[in-house]
Structures are given as structure tokens and as C-alpha cells.
């Protein structure tokens, strides 16, 4: 088990390097100099040359890459071209909000998906079953930003029930506004993970209750409760754990859209701004950081999976 974990941690490094390499190469392939972003004040030849010198853009690519990686390891991702602040700071400002949003969404998603998936597997073709299939379909089919816009319109604009601009900021004298502002974004972001988690839970539960060992448990005279929870559920939840890894990746991407729509000052929105203004240092830094988080989440999930499934924990 320990070996397995170490191997996976080591696998992180080539993965991140590969991602960094791809991002780096692409960033450098973008035509034009990274400095002539402002068409109103074009830089003179000497100024460009000087800047190139300072930023080391004259060195061969592999050297630039090596320098970049070395710096990245120290969390120095350079300075934003547009905002003129260190990339780390910019990301650091937005990260807590994005993290909060993401974690909340994941929890809400699980809270919806697990009970729904389990009950619908046990009571097939009931109302709950239809609801769960509905949630699964909507969550996995219709993109979050589309639903987001629809729901903003219904709850925010038409009904004025839920304010939606700004995140966790107060609306003056109205109490609980901070919390209410978080409802829509969290819920909408949670829909996609809720969708496929419901689907996986339901499928996994359906499969579990058809297993032979469930029949064995019944043949011992155990009550339905003990059979379902003690035997079926414990097996059914294992695949669900593994899905949380990819779900995290999906959540991160989701935050781009949600933060954009709701004007939430998180790192996702920063990322989109950087993309639209070709702020490569920010783009690369954020990409690397996200890659690190995603790989880390997958690693954690794999480890958790190993702990939860005795076939892996106590290998033969």
C-alpha cells in the first residue's frame, strides 16, 4: 500500500512537467510579442529588445523552460503583464473564494446525489427513481452556465428572491444577504457533480444489490436494513469514491463559468480575464496550479480507494 502511494506521488512530477511543457510551448507559439498588448502605445524596437533581455526571452526555449520550472517550484510564476502584480498574489487573492465555492458545491452535490441514488436504486420505477434520473440527466447534459443563466433569470431577476452579484458581500442592511448570495452559485455549480454522482451511485447500488453475497446475507436471516446498509451499501460506495477525483476536475472548470457569470472575484474569474487579455504569466501559473490540484485530488482519491477496498488494502 505504501509502495502504491509513493509510486503515485512520483507520477505527479512527470504529469505536471508535461502539462507545464505543453502550456509553455503553446504560450510561446502565440504570435506576436507578449508585450505589444496595448495597440495605443506600441513599444519601440529598443524597448522591446530591452524587455526581451530582462525577461530572458532571447534565450533558447529549453533554457527558458528550465528557468520557468525552477521558479515555479519556488512558487514564483512571474509578474502579470496586465496587472503588474506577481502572479502568485493574484492567484492567492482569488483562491480562497474559489476553494470555498468548490468545496461547498461538492458537499451539496454529494448531499443530493447519495440519498437520491441509493433510494432510487432500492425503489426502482418510483417517483424518487424518476427524480434521480431527471437530476442525473439535467446535471450531466445541460451545461452549468446555461442552467445558471436560466436560474438567475428566474430567481434573481424575475422573482428577486436570490441576489447574485458579488460573493459573500453584504447588501447593506438586509441580513443574511451574504449567505443568500452564495446559494445560487453553489447550487448551480453543484448540479453537474450531483448529476453524475447520482448516476454512479444509482448504478453502483443497483449492481450491488444483485450480487450473490447479498443473497447470502439474506439467507443468514439478516433483516433488510442490515442487508442493504451493512452489505450492499459498503460495496456500492466504493466506485462512488473513485468518481470524486474526476468530479473535482469538473468542478474546477465549472468555477470558471460560475465565477464569470456571478462576478465572483475568485481565481477562476481571474483566469478568464487573463485568457481574454493574453496575460500569459497568469495563464501559465494558474494552469500549473490547477493541474497540481487536480492531480493531487486524483491521488487522494486513489489512496482513499485503496483504503476503502480491502482487496487493494490487503493485497494478495
Amino acid at each position: 500500500m505504501g509502495q502504491y502511494v509513493i509510486r503515485r506521488v512520483l507520477l505527479l512530477i512527470p504529469t505536471l512537467l508535461l502539462v507545464a511543457l505543453i502550456t509553455f510551448v503553446l504560450a510561446l507559439s502565440a504570435p506576436g510579442s507578449p508585450f505589444d498588448k496595448n495597440p495605443d502605445k506600441p513599444l519601440s524596437e529598443e524597448d522591446q529588445a530591452r524587455l526581451n533581455e530582462i525577461y530572458g526571452l532571447n534565450k533558447p526555449i529549453y533554457e527558458q523552460f528550465a528557468i520557468y520550472i525552477a521558479n515555479a517550484a519556488k512558487l514564483d510564476f512571474g509578474v502579470s503583464i496586465v496587472r503588474h502584480r506577481p502572479v502568485v498574489e493574484i492567484i492567492g487573492d482569488g483562491l480562497p473564494k474559489s476553494a470555498q465555492l468548490g468545496v461547498q458545491a461538492m458537499l451539496v452535490g454529494l448531499l443530493i446525489a447519495l440519498p437520491l441514488g441509493i433510494v432510487s436504486a432500492l425503489k426502482q420505477n418510483s417517483i424518487i427513481d424518476y427524480i434521480s434520473v431527471g437530476v442525473a440527466t439535467i446535471g450531466t447534459t445541460i451545461p452549468s452556465f446555461v442552467i445558471g443563466i436560466l436560474l438567475i433569470y428566474i430567481f434573481g431577476v424575475s422573482l428577486h428572491w436570490l441576489p447574485f452579484v458579488g460573493w459573500g458581500e453584504s447588501c447593506g442592511p438586509i441580513p443574511s444577504c451574504e449567505i443568500r448570495k452564495m446559494i445560487l452559485p453553489t447550487f448551480i455549480l453543484a448540479l453537474a457533480p450531483a448529476g453524475y454522482l447520482t448516476r454512479i451511485t444509482r448504478a453502483s447500488m443497483l449492481e450491488a444489490i444483485r450480487q450473490d453475497f447479498v443473497r447470502t446475507a439474506r439467507s443468514k436471516g439478516l433483516g433488510e436494513g442490515a442487508v442493504i446498509v451493512g452489505h450492499a451499501l459498503r460495496n456500492a460506495l466504493i466506485p462512488v469514491v473513485t468518481i470524486i477525483g474526476p468530479a473535482t476536475a469538473g468542478l474546477i472548470v465549472g468555477t470558471f463559468f460560475i465565477e464569470y457569470i456571478f462576478s465572483i472575484p475568485g481565481s477562476g474569474r481571474e483566469y478568464i480575464r487573463a485568457i481574454n487579455s493574453r496575460d500569459y504569466p497568469v495563464i501559465m501559473g494558474t494552469t500549473l496550479l490547477y493541474a497540481f490540484f487536480i492531480a493531487g485530488a486524483n491521488l487522494l482519491v486513489d489512496v482513499a480507494y485503496g483504503l476503502v477496498d480491502p482487496r487493494i488494502k490487503v493485497g494478495k
Binding site: 450473490d212 439478516l222 451493512g230
Partner: protein, 372 residues
């Protein structure tokens, strides 16, 4: 006369599917005395497993249903009990050993936990008592280093060991009757012998009644006192074990015995398999169910179903379901070892099988896809 431990009368179990109603168990009656081992023999799909599951009411409710009959266990009708009473019996008075120990054991629970469950539930033992008893049981069934192994998981055991664990689980609450459904089919031949020996010894030591279900006549030969042969959802022959092998009275049984290679036969003697396929249990034929594959058949076999009756030239409780071997039939004096029946009919059967649309070859079936 002492009451029988188990008395099954007229049991009908059916499955309601989209293609029709499958009459899996179609009028089965038998009994088991305390302490005796009964063998139920038949090919796949004949209803033997469904019979066993029906005894414990483990038939999945949709799509299955026990539509008729009575199952008297220890004087009480299992089919009339409510759910709690049935659960009180399961694992406690009647226990079951399933065919595939790998899938029948829960992979994420220790075997100690899986055995203790029944002990804590039925015998109301606390954790330490249950654990002690569990280790005793594991010892009893021949698991070495039982104390250490009790906390292992099923995947850490070999096939034979897993089946021993299942046996330990079945024995745990000292049941009066154990149903063993193909207990050795999934195991190697050498391990089979060990497991069967174990079962025999346990039966003797604890005077537990067994119903041993298998398709393998060799398995029942050394283990049982009586044998029932099932075909097409019905019992087609009942006899004491020795009597069945010495003096079988039903063409299906003859077919079974003929398809077993024997050490004492001449090398050139050919194995005569039973041609044809098992009957369709959704629309069973009106006559004898074995008739389409029987080379001794006559018109009456196609028209009317024979009852299960005592037959001439045999022991008193020997019954068979065959027009030919019953009183006045044309097979009463047939020596089945010498007369293989009408070979022309055999050819007809072979041709009929050849006429059927081909079964899908392994290459035609898309394999189950990997998770997407």
C-alpha cells in the same frame, strides 16, 4: 411414524418475465427426514436451485413467485410465515451453501464478521463469544491457523478455503437442515473430494440433514441416502441411492448414467450423450417433458404427461415418471445397458437439433464494454 423434518407438497414456483411465465418448479413434492442426506440431481435449468431457494423463500419477488404448495419444516408451513418468522429460520434452522464462494462472500468484510453476524443475530451472542465460536467453526471446517485467518478477507483465501468458510457460516447456528447448491462445482476435482468428505463428516457428526443439489451423479453417489432426479421443473425419478444406480427406471436417468465414462468399460465403448436441448419452461409440452429427446418414445409420451408412480421390478419406494417403465409399459423389462432404444429416433432428434437457427458464436457477441 416420526414426522419428517421437511415435507414439501405440490410446490410451484414461477418467474414472470417479458417473454412469458417461466414455470421453473412445476409441481414438486418430496420429504427429508432428520439427519438424512437427499440428493437432487439434474442438468442446468431443471429447477433444482429454484427449489432450494424456494424452501428458504429467497426467490426474488419480482419477477419470481411461489404460486402454490406447502413447505412444512418442523411442522410449520414456511410459505405461511410472515417475514420476521422466515428470517428467524434462515441461517438458524435452515442454512444454505452456495455454488460460487468467491461471489457469495462479501469482499469488503472480514470472514470473522460474516460468520459472527448470524451468531449475534440468532444465538444472541456478544462479540467475544461470537468470535470464539467463529474460530472454533473455522477450525472445525479445516482452516489452518484459524485464529489468525479469522480477520482476513475472502480474496485472501483459495477457492477450497472459501467454500470451507461458507460451510462454517452455514453450520454456525447448528441448523437442522443445510441446502448445498452445487457446493463443489466451482472447485478443482481434488478439492471437490476434500469438501465432500468434510460435508459427509459434518453430517454424521452433527446429524444435520442435507439436501445436496448437483448435476454430477458422481458427487451424490457417495454422499446421499436417497436421490431425486429432476427434469424440466419436475421430479422424474425417486429412489434410494444404491437402487438408483443399480436399477434406474427412467430414460433420462439412463441417459445420465450412460454419459458418465466408466473405468470398467471397454475402451471401445462409446459414450452416448443425450441429444437435444432442455425444454422451454414458458410453454412446456403437454406430454412428457423428456419426450423430445427420448429414443424410447411412443405416441402416448407426446400426448399425456406421465404421473410419478411406483414402478414394477424395483424397490418399494422407487418411483418414476415414465409411461414406458410403469405398470404395463413397453420398457418394464428393458435392460437399459444393452438396449439403447430406437436408433432411428436418435437420428431424427439429431436432425431436428441441426435444423434450429445457429446459436450466436462467441465472436458474434460484443463483449461487455469497459466503463466509459
Amino acid at each position: 411414524m416420526a414426522q419428517n423434518l421437511l415435507e414439501v407438497q405440490d410446490l410451484y414456483t414461477q418467474f414472470f418475465t417479458r417473454d412469458g411465465v417461466v414455470r421453473a418448479v412445476d409441481g414438486v413434492s418430496f420429504h427429508v427426514e432428520a439427519g438424512e442426506t437427499l440428493g437432487i440431481v439434474g442438468e442446468s435449468g431443471c429447477g433444482k436451485s429454484v427449489t432450494a431457494l424456494s424452501l428458504m423463500r429467497l426467490i426474488p419477488q419480482p419477477p419470481g413467485k411461489i404460486v402454490k404448495g406447502s413447505i412444512m419444516f418442523d411442522g410449520a408451513d414456511v410459505l405461511k410465515m410472515d417475514d420476521d418468522e422466515v428470517r428467524g429460520i434462515r441461517g438458524n434452522n435452515i442454512a444454505m451453501i452456495f455454488q460460487d464462494p468467491m461471489t457469495s462472500l462479501n469482499p469488503v468484510l472480514t470472514i470473522s464478521r460474516q460468520i459472527s453476524e448470524a451468531l449475534e443475530l440468532h444465538l444472541k451472542m456478544d462479540k467475544s463469544e461470537a468470535r470464539k465460536r467463529t474460530i472454533e467453526l473455522l477450525d472445525l471446517v479445516g482452516i489452518p491457523s484459524a485464529k489468525k485467518r479469522a480477520d482476513d478477507y475472502p480474496h485472501q483465501f483459495s477457492g477450497g478455503m472459501r467454500q470451507r468458510v461458507m460451510i462454517a457460516m452455514a453450520l454456525s447456528c447448528n441448523p437442522k437442515l443445510i441446502l448445498a447448491d452445487e457446493p463443489t462445482t466451482a472447485l478443482d476435482v481434488t478439492i471437490q473430494a476434500q469438501i465432500l468428505d468434510l460435508l459427509k463428516n459434518l453430517a454424521r457428526e452433527f446429524r444435520t440433514a442435507f439436501i445436496l443439489i448437483t448435476h454430477d451423479l458422481g458427487v451424490v453417489a457417495g454422499m446421499t441416502q436417497r436421490i431425486h432426479v429432476m427434469y424440466g421443473g419436475k421430479i422424474v425419478e425417486k429412489a434410494d441411492t444404491a437402487e438408483l444406480f443399480a436399477n434406474p427406471k427412467m430414460p433420462y436417468t439412463w441417459g445420465l448414467l450412460r454419459s458418465i465414462p466408466r473405468l470398467d468399460e471397454k475402451r471401445k465403448a462409446k459414450l452416448v450423450p443425450i441429444e437435444g436441448l432442455p425444454p422451454d419452461l414458458i410453454a412446456p409440452p403437454p406430454g412428457c417433458r423428456f419426450e423430445p429427446r427420448c429414443q424410447y418414445r411412443r405416441d402416448i409420451c407426446h400426448e399425456k404427461e406421465p404421473p410419478l408412480e411406483h414402478i414394477p421390478n424395483s424397490k418399494p419406494d422407487h418411483e418414476a415418471r415414465c409411461w414406458g417403465t410403469q405398470e404395463g409399459g413397453w420398457l418394464v423389462d428393458t435392460d437399459w445397458r444393452k438396449e439403447i432404444g430406437d436408433m432411428a429416433v436418435l437420428e431424427v432428434i439429431k436432425q431436428e437439433v441441426a435444423q434450429l437457427p445457429p446459436e450466436p458464436k462467441p465472436g458474434d457477441v460484443p463483449p461487455p464494454p469497459a466503463a466509459i
